[in-house]
Assembly symmetry: C2
Homo-oligomer: 245 residues x 2
């Protein structure tokens, strides 16, 4: 009996940890955790439901992929009123590229949640993007389109989608800013001032100083992204200046 109780306890405490970690990533409370459990179940477990249907994240990935595509389509439709069908299609492919989705999944460290029978280090790079899509599918299943949309805005669009950058007009705001500083003989300095190591998702905060004055701050899941974000903010804040000189 005590063995069973221990197993049950350890499972429920594991579920509890999963719930808490998940809530941090989602930004809201999951209603039905079973959707998320499916989203992190690898086929190697050979899990089946009561009716004998295979349970793994691949179906969730299909659902999440479709929702992500629709949400990005609606975002682009609204944001780029001058873009024709071909342009919108091309921009969407860039945003939901395998590479980008892998980065997003990796940043959130989703692989940590995977239940699998094969060692995690044997997964290829695509596991990250697949889990990210599956997570979006689970959110849709749990809370519907509105929450899936909210999540995609918070985790994909707001932090990372920049139409100008996607169009290749701006490769990197950091290089743009450095170039301007050199041209105008200004000093610049990026300072990482916080690394909240005990959060589920690591964050880096960066202060950008120009001529010893802090002109922008940003926080992101990698030092590079935080620097780019701070540069972008500074760029827009200083844009009149940059354009004039």
């Amino acid at each position: 009996m005590s063995v069973i109780r221990n197993i049950l306890n350890s499972r429920s405490s594991k579920d509890g940890n999963f719930f808490i970690a998940l809530q941090k990533i989602l930004g809201f409370k999951p209603k039905d955790i079973s959707h998320y459990q499916k989203a992190f179940t690898h086929r190697s477990l050979n899990q089946k439901d009561k009716l004998g249907n295979a349970v793994n994240f691949e179906r969730m990935e299909f659902l999440g992929d479709a929702m992500l595509s629709a949400i990005i389509a609606a975002y682009l439709f609204k944001t780029v009123p001058g873009g024709n069908e071909g342009y919108l299609t091309k921009m969407r492919s860039k945003i939901v590229s395998r590479k980008h989705l892998n980065e997003l999944g990796k940043d959130l460290n989703l692989i940590e949640f995977v239940q699998t029978n094969i060692p995690k280090d044997q997964f290829g790079a695509n596991i990250h993007g697949n889990l990210f899509e599956a997570l979006i599918g689970a959110i849709y299943g749990d809370r519907g389109y509105k929450y899936a949309k909210k999540f995609v805005y918070e985790r994909v669009i707001n932090p990372y989608v920049d139409i100008e950058q996607l169009e290749g007009k701006v490769i990197s705001y950091k290089s743009l800013l450095i170039e301007w500083c050199q041209k105008t003989k200004k000093t610049f300095n990026y300072e990482v001032y916080e690394d909240s190591g005990n959060e589920e998702v690591k964050h880096f905060a960066v202060k950008l100083r120009i001529d010893d004055r802090v002109v922008a701050k940003a926080r992101a899941t990698s030092k590079k992204k935080a620097e780019e974000q701070a540069s972008k903010r500074a760029y827009y804040a200083l844009q009149d200046k940059i354009d004039i000189e």
Copy 2:
């Protein structure tokens, strides 16, 4: 002045007719008709908005295509719990096939609404499906995901999507039923008993009699579809019998 007034009057009465016809198809009142006007504007008009952006249904089509894919994905995910990712993808392609979308657009006679500078008889078959997708895009723009989903259920999934038929397990319920009648020496008769010719969308109603008893009725936008629908209903009503003999 009277010329201008006449033009204005005729345009607003045209808009009024469009609004009424649209409402019948949608099953709800449009909030902002401009979305639907865009959905039925052909590029040959060279229409532009105030900012100089091209206005035509192609952008709406992009949006509607994405929404339709997502809605069908969610439907299949829920309805076929035993289908893996590949199966769900395949089933979705069948449902949103160009041919099927063209049929759907044609049944609703959407081409009637198109504003164009080229003669409508010069459009290819795909115009019907393109307009159908654009209409879904307009619904999303006007009323959001929930209404787009409702429309897709009412106009695509409920009347036409049959997983068994899509899987090729059942080619046609009508032939299944006829076969059974012949085998069991029963008479059968399909009677078209109503053709509401003055509605925006033509409908055909069919009564299916077996041994002179009405066993099923159905209503659809073509005689063939109504017969198939009535056969399907009869098939399910008689299924125990059919399976036994």
